[in-house]
Symmetry: C2
Subunit: 176 residues, 2 copies
């Protein structure tokens, strides 16, 4: 009951998810992440970052080594990966199927990436994979759907969005 209050029981907040993803991304890109790196990257003050990172540490999502370099715990890594994964899948669906423009697709995806359930993320991935698979029903359906609704018609051999979506899905299913 009271479905509308389920949002209070989310695994992670919007803000928290972005801290974890930023730490993960910084470590990947430059090999390390400190409080101030995260603050700079996210455009928040070091004070805010310090407080939020302390709270994430207390929740077990990350640690600091003796030199104050941040490290995601297994749980932190899993969460960051899951949210990032959901974002990519959502963007692929919004852009590649619904033909939402890139900017809006990113905004919508970013708002809901941490809110959809694991099941929904999984199923959406399967759905997109099938749509772009060799099975002819997917492409036939998309073509007639776009045609019926006067959305841009994609030539699957040359369309940049389709290619991008396809690549994204390949990456996703490898790390999923």
């Amino acid at each position: 009951m009271d479905v509308w209050r389920e949002f209070e029981h989310n695994e992670i907040t919007h803000s928290g998810a972005h801290y974890l993803m930023t730490v993960q991304q910084l470590i990947e890109e430059q090999g390390y992440a400190r409080v101030s790196d995260v603050a700079r990257e996210m455009h928040i003050t070091p004070g805010s970052a310090s407080i939020m990172i302390k709270s994430l540490r207390e929740k077990g999502y990350l640690e600091e080594d003796r030199n104050r370099f941040l490290l995601l715990s297994d749980e932190g890594n899993r969460l960051a990966q899951s949210v990032w994964s959901h974002r990519q899948i959502l963007i692929a669906f919004l852009k590649g199927v619904l033909h939402i423009d890139a900017e809006q697709a990113e905004i919508d995806a970013c708002k809901i990436e941490h809110l959809i359930s694991t099941k929904t993320g999984e199923r959406l991935l399967l759905f997109l994979q099938f749509l772009l698979s060799d099975d002819p029903h997917g492409k036939a359906f998309l073509k007639s759907y776009w045609d019926a609704n006067v959305l841009a018609i994609c030539d699957f051999e040359t369309c940049a969005v389709c290619e991008e979506v396809g690549e994204c899905l390949v990456i996703r299913s490898e790390s999923a």
Copy 2:
């Protein structure tokens, strides 16, 4: 830039959206809505309801008549309608296409209904309508997609979910 902070500029909060929808629903069902009716319906204290409703009034989403009965403004009605509409479309997609179970579909939909853009809502509706239209590509695609992923196969003539989704979409497009 800073897509991750776009959530601060949402038209309405999760909480606000549910207050407006509750007022709309109460007026529809019992002809009127007072502060205490809303509180009872949403399972929050009258004090909380009083404060939130004052704030919604200050934002122009609703008014009170001389007898303290609540009335949605045009803007309030539009917003409540839009969020409700998004919820129905999302549930239809999650249940009817991805085969997410009813309970999870409602939770997911409730969390994101107020966050997706108008464009995304519109396009998702078009997508579902086409999928369930007379065009044979939609059903052929769904059938082979479900088959490929060992999801329950629907017989479109007798499947309750499909019927439910179909009915919902008819209602949606009439009031959209």
